[in-house]
Symmetry: C2
Amino acid sequence: MDIKQYVTEKGKQAKAAARGLANVSTEIKNNALVKMAAGLEKAASQLIAENKKDLKAGAEQGLSNAMLDRLELTPERITAMADGLREVAALPDPVGEVLKMWRRPNGMEVGKVRVPIGLIGIIYESRPNVTADSAALCLKSGNAVLLRGGSEAVHSNTAIADILSKAGAEAGVPEGAVTFIENPDRACVMEMLKLSQYVDIVIPRGGEGLIRMVTENATMPVIKHDKGLCHTYVDNDADLTMAKEICMNAKVQRPGTCNAMETMLVHKGLAPTFLPDMIAAFRKAGVEIRGCPTTRAIVSSVKEATGADWDTEYDDLILNVKVVKDIDDAMEHIAAHGSQHSEAIVTKDYGKAMRFQREVDAAAVFVNVSTRLSDGYEFGLGAEIGISTTRIHARGPMGLEELTSTKFIVLGNGQIRT
Amino acid sequence: MDIKQYVTEKGKQAKAAARGLANVSTEIKNNALVKMAAGLEKAASQLIAENKKDLKAGAEQGLSNAMLDRLELTPERITAMADGLREVAALPDPVGEVLKMWRRPNGMEVGKVRVPIGLIGIIYESRPNVTADSAALCLKSGNAVLLRGGSEAVHSNTAIADILSKAGAEAGVPEGAVTFIENPDRACVMEMLKLSQYVDIVIPRGGEGLIRMVTENATMPVIKHDKGLCHTYVDNDADLTMAKEICMNAKVQRPGTCNAMETMLVHKGLAPTFLPDMIAAFRKAGVEIRGCPTTRAIVSSVKEATGADWDTEYDDLILNVKVVKDIDDAMEHIAAHGSQHSEAIVTKDYGKAMRFQREVDAAAVFVNVSTRLSDGYEFGLGAEIGISTTRIHARGPMGLEELTSTKFIVLGNGQIRT
C-alpha cells in the first residue's frame, strides 16, 4: 500500500469512529480511560522494552542527552501517564452542556449545545507521554484522534497507542477512536495534512520548525502553540515586595517554559530604587541581565541589550530590562515585541490595572500575578492540551471545553419561514 | 510594485488597523457605521455609474442574466445596503463581554472575555452588497477586514469600499480597518492566502469552486459556508398537518437556498396515508418527486431516485422521497448522505424528539420546525456573515459573537507559581 492510501485509510477509520464516539456516554468514556491507565501500568515492562529500542536508535543517531531524556520511559513516568488518564476520567464531561437557550418571537426555542469537534489530528515530537495525554483529552471531549508522533519514538508510541486502542474497544469505545500512524516515513505527515475531508483540526505540539511546516501545509484549521515572549511591567504604583516576588518567579521558577518572562519593563520613576536590588537578586539566582541605556546608567555593570534581544525568547536564565516612561510606553513595547501569549502588570493603581487588562492584546493578561500561572491547570481547566496562540475561538490554555464545538438545537411546534 | 508586495502591503496595513480597532469604543464604531450608511446613500448616483462599468464588461464577457442581476446596483439595493449598516449599528457590541469568571484556590480571579479575532479576510463573488455587509459585521465586532471581491464587480466594490473607508476614518476608526484589494488580478487571491502573519481567519463567500480553492491554499484557518443537503424526517408519531406545512415550507419557500430540504424521509407506518396527499401537494407547487421503490409502490407515477440523487443538493424544485423503517434508519440515512448543515424531525413523541436532537450531527438540528429557519436572523443573532459548516468553534449561523475570540484575564494580589 502506498503512503497516501495508508494515511487516507487511517483518517477514514478514525473519522468513522468519531461519529459513534460523539454519542458515547460519559460512563463508557471514563471506563475506557481507567482501563487504559490500568493497561499501561500492566504493560510497563513491555513498554520499557519497546522504549529501549527507541533509545538505542536515538543514541546511534546522535540525539542529544536532553532529547534522550525526554524520550525515556521509566516506571515512574508510566505511572504518571496512567495517573494522567485517571485524572481526565475524573473531570466533568464537556459534551452536552447547553451554553444558552432563548425563545424567539415565533415561539421556537433556540439553544447552543456543546458537541465534539469530530476528528482531531495531533502531530508531535519526542515525548511518548503526549500519546496518552492527547488521546485522553480527545476521548473525554468525545473526539476521535489521529496521532502522529516523532519517528524517534515510534516503538514507544506504537506500543502505547496499541494498549489505549485495545482498552478503549474493551470499554465500548468505537474502534479507531484512537488511531496512530505508526509508519515513520515523514511523507505520512504531508499526507495527513491533506486529509481535510476527515481531519477537522490539527494541533502541532513541538518546536518552531514543526509548527511552521504544519501551518504551511495543512488544509484544515491549525491550532498553534507558538512561542511565548512574555513581559512584566512594574508600574510606579507597584507594591515593591510583590513586584520583586512576581518578577523573580516569572523569570527563574522554570525559565525554559513559554510563559516565563523574557523582558521586564520598569517605570522610570521607580527604576532608581527598584532596579539595583532586583538586579542583584536576579544575579544571585544566576540570571544574566541585558539592559537599555537607562538601566545601564543605574546599574553600570549591566550588559547592553541589542535590537534582536527584545525579540528573543531566551527560554533561559537571561532577562532584558527596559525602563519605560509610563504605562503607554510599556504597552507600546509589548505590542511591538510581545508574542500575544501572556503579559503582566504589577500595580496598586486601579485605573492602570483596568487599562492594561483591557488594552493589552494577549491570550492571557495578568494583574499582580506571575505569568508562570498561564496554564490550564493553574486556571482550573483541569487539563491542558496546549496554549493556543492562534487567533481563533480557542485562545490561551486549552482544556476539554476548547476541544469542543457547538451545534444549534431548535425546538418548536410547527414554525415555518414566511 | 509586484502582486506579492502589493497584497502584503494591504495585509500589513489592515493588521496595523486591527490593533487600534480592538480598543475603539462602541460609540465610535456605531458612529462609523451610520456615517458609512449615509455615505453610500449620498453617493448613490456615483455607485450606479461605477456599477454600470461592471455590468457592461460583464455583458461583454457573456455573464448569465442571473449573474448580471446579482451584480446590479439599483437605488433600492443601495438603500438596503445602507439600512443593513444601520441595523448592525443598532446591535449590541459583543466585545468585552465576560463569558465567565471564577476564583481559584490561591485567590486569583480568572475570567474569559470576548475580544476581536484580529484581521478577517473575506473572499467573495459577484454581489457588491457583500462588501458593505462584511465590512459592517467585522467593524462592529472590532475586527479589521481585508476584502477581496470578484473581478466582475471590481468597479462597484472599489467605489463602495472607498466610501466605507473614508466614512470610517472620519468617525475615528483606524485607517486600514476596511481594506479592499482592488487589483483584479487573480494572483492576488493566492498571495492573500499566504498572509498568515497578518490574516487570522479567512471566510470564502461563494460557490464550491471558490471554497475548494481557498481551503486548499490558505495558510490560516478557513471558515467555510459549504453546501447544504438537508433532510426532514416525518415520524409515524407526527402531527400530519404540521408535517405537511413544514415539509412544504422547507422545499418550496425558497428552493435555491442552502437550508432548503432536498430529501424527505417518511416512516413506513405513515407512508400509505401521508405520501399520496403530500406528493399531490408538492406537484401542485411545481415540485418534481424522485422516490425510493416503496414510495413508487404507493404513488406509482413517481420517478425513480437514482443513487446519485440522494447525494445531490438540487437547489431547485426537485425532491427525493424515501420511506424508512424507523428513526434509526432515518438517522443512518442522514449520517450517510447529509452535509451536517440543517436537519429536522417532525414528531409528537418526546423520546424520539430528544434522540434526534441529541444524536444527529449537524450545525443545526430542528424539532417540529422548518429547516428554512436555519438562519442568523431567524435565530435572533441579529446578523449573519454566513453559516459555518467548518467543524471549528463557530458552527452554524455566524453572527457578531462568532466573529470574536476570547482572552483570559487574571486578577490577583501577588500570586506566583510554586
